[in-house]
Symmetry: C2
Subunit: 380 residues, 2 copies
């Protein structure tokens, strides 16, 4: 199987982009990635998105983005796995290059969520949950995560304030990222006074939606010896309904995909210099750290409290703001994570740079852990 390298990285700021339609968001990030790579013609295009059918009355984003790039005629398709769509698209891009079918693959994640006349984003997002066994009970995505967080606090004896380090770290890091939606650091006091959303989740435990797009240009590693390499790539699934899991506090699909990716890369948690995890909610950051082997079950919050997740800590997370501060344009998020990880390894992360980062990991989660995709990248 051919190894894959990331030759180009493209992003646009996560914002309320009312002046741009979904095609323009995607095309701008995609062109940035192609320009960064110095590539003018691609062999394949994978677009990721979750909600454009309802929120933008637009499907078939593969052909649409190909049309407007323009890369007329190019093979293109859209992938969806809820908030894990972009990691899944990256995975297909890697497989396409590995197959020998394509030599230059563009992977673009895009979501336009803030201008949706007559539709509620909450209703579009809850399609990631089980429509027969979860949604009919009136659950939303934030309330589902609130139930999990309640259980975690009960099981391991935490208070709400104990989760503050996740939000404080993310916002401090987001302040250094020009593409982040929120660029103001927050204090412990601000965290503790956060407005309640769904007990115990407050405003500072939940990531914001936004409009955004991020893209990567992939090539066979042998053609780009100086580019960031993909040394691990794996995807796994779990039950869609959280109540169907033996242990709702264990992300089995995270463990499964990360263990496979570690094995491919020939590394373990101790070798990872930074981890772009899926902190859609504070509780998901804690559970991800545990499932990926950085902390024992119930100790993810403690790890954060000890400062290990800070830029100078043992395992820096959300180094450019994470979902919490960079923002969470759902179908684009996994590619923002990978773009940020690649920039860190190139030494192009600006003020947010983690010194001497050699190995970075990115993990993208769809639903409450039903689809989890892990990628491990290495500095050239």
């Amino acid at each position: 199987m051919r190894e894959v390298a990331i030759l180009g990285v493209g992003q646009i700021p996560v914002r309320e982009h009312w002046e741009l339609s979904i095609r323009h968001l995607a095309v701008e990030a995609a062109r940035n990635a192609m320009h960064d790579a110095g590539v003018e013609r691609i062999d394949g295009l994978y677009v990721s998105n979750m909600t454009s059918g309802e929120l933008n009355q637009q499907r078939q984003l593969g052909a649409l983005v190909a049309d407007y790039l323009p890369q007329h005629g190019v093979e293109a398709v859209k992938l969806e796995a809820a908030c894990g769509s972009a990691g899944s698209a990256m995975r297909q891009g890697i497989i396409a290059i590995a197959s020998g079918e394509m030599d230059a693959v563009l992977v673009v994640g895009v979501e336009k969520m803030t201008e949706t006349p007559g539709k509620t984003t909450t209703a579009a997002l809850v399609t990631a949950a089980d429509a027969d066994y979860e949604t009919p009970h009136g659950i939303t995505f934030v309330s589902l995560n609130a139930l999990v967080m309640q259980r975690y606090m009960h099981e391991y004896g935490y208070q709400h304030g104990d989760f503050a380090p996740f939000a404080i770290n993310a916002h401090a890091n987001g302040a250094k990222n020009p593409n982040a939606m929120f660029r103001d650091p927050i204090s412990q006091r601000a965290y503790e006074r956060g407005r309640m959303v769904a007990d115990p989740i407050t405003l500072f435990d939940a990531s914001p939606i936004g409009d955004g797009a991020a893209a990567l240009l992939l090539v066979p590693a042998e053609k780009a010896p100086d580019a960031v390499r993909v040394i691990g790539s794996a995807s796994a699934t779990d039950t869609l309904s959280v109540h169907d899991r033996e242990n709702p506090l264990w992300l089995a699909a995270s463990e499964q995909s990360v263990q496979r990716a570690y094995a491919q890369a020939g590394i373990g948690p101790v070798d990872v210099d930074l981890f772009e995890l899926h902190d859609a909610f504070s509780i998901m950051a804690a559970l991800s750290l545990e499932a990926c082997g950085f902390a024992e079950p119930g100790q993810g919050v403690r790890l954060a409290q000890e400062g290990a997740i800070l830029p100078n800590g043992r395992i820096p997370i959300a180094t450019m703001g994470g979902l919490k501060a960079r923002g969470h344009p759902v179908g684009a998020t996994g590619l923002y994570q990978l773009a940020e990880a690649a920039l860190q390894l190139r030494g192009d992360a600006g003020e947010a740079q983690i010194p001497d980062a050699r190995i970075a990991m990115a993990q993208n989660i769809g639903g409450s852990g039903a689809t989890i995709v892990t990628h491990i990248l290495q500095r050239p």
Copy 2:
């Protein structure tokens, strides 16, 4: 690149399946394919679907179908390219096996369209068109095709009745397929008296929506020397808006994908024994025959009038009813086409069997020709 074989075929009848949720439709077809293949564990799952976000309030079908198969933990994702979703999913399944990443891949197409309280299927389907430049003019998918058909009739001097052979052939063939939605042959007189939908498209020029699911189990060809082989696989795109094309009567993405597939297979149109084309509307059947080299531009209708498309003709089409009579559960259609083509090559097509079929082609179209995927299959 490893060659790919179709080891298992699964379908359910296209119907109004009010008693089954979308997960059950998909799982039934998928299990049929696994049982047919004698395979109990898969390495990857590709699900295709177009409208489940709006019509079933359900996304993340990859994880959902994996959960209920059950194939816990397996890598899974959903692909979408409007009505070309299933052909696109097949394409990814082939690439995944070719890459060496997977040895047993399940590709499942599913759509549940007939039980959609408070939502209109027409509104969900028009998301395949351009939301900025087509949909705002009040266009629907049938009216878009009506404009193309008008232009074709004007350009080449046809009357509406000239298109009758497409509908008559499809319904005659559907009568022999137990999975077809409509199993009654129709007469020329019935065709001519068809109720008007969007001038000149009548009820008998338009395929019916339906609930359905079809699946294929793919393996490396070297592991299944007696199974149907995939000898050509290609996908191409065109502008999303029909008015952006130099010639709205030429399916450029069809030509591009079919030429690539012919080259891979080392064959030409003359070698194809049957062609499962995308007859969502009569006009699309004519345009497909022309773009794939079976007729000169403007001669697709004449080819049908000469009887060449009949089961005993030069190039049998819609051999098990096509979209017109088997039904068009949009995100599943491309896999019904491939399932039917595979059954023909195995000699398992029952009453609809084309004698001594050696090479079959299936072409799946998303939107009005924006995404077109072609596969060529060969008898073992």
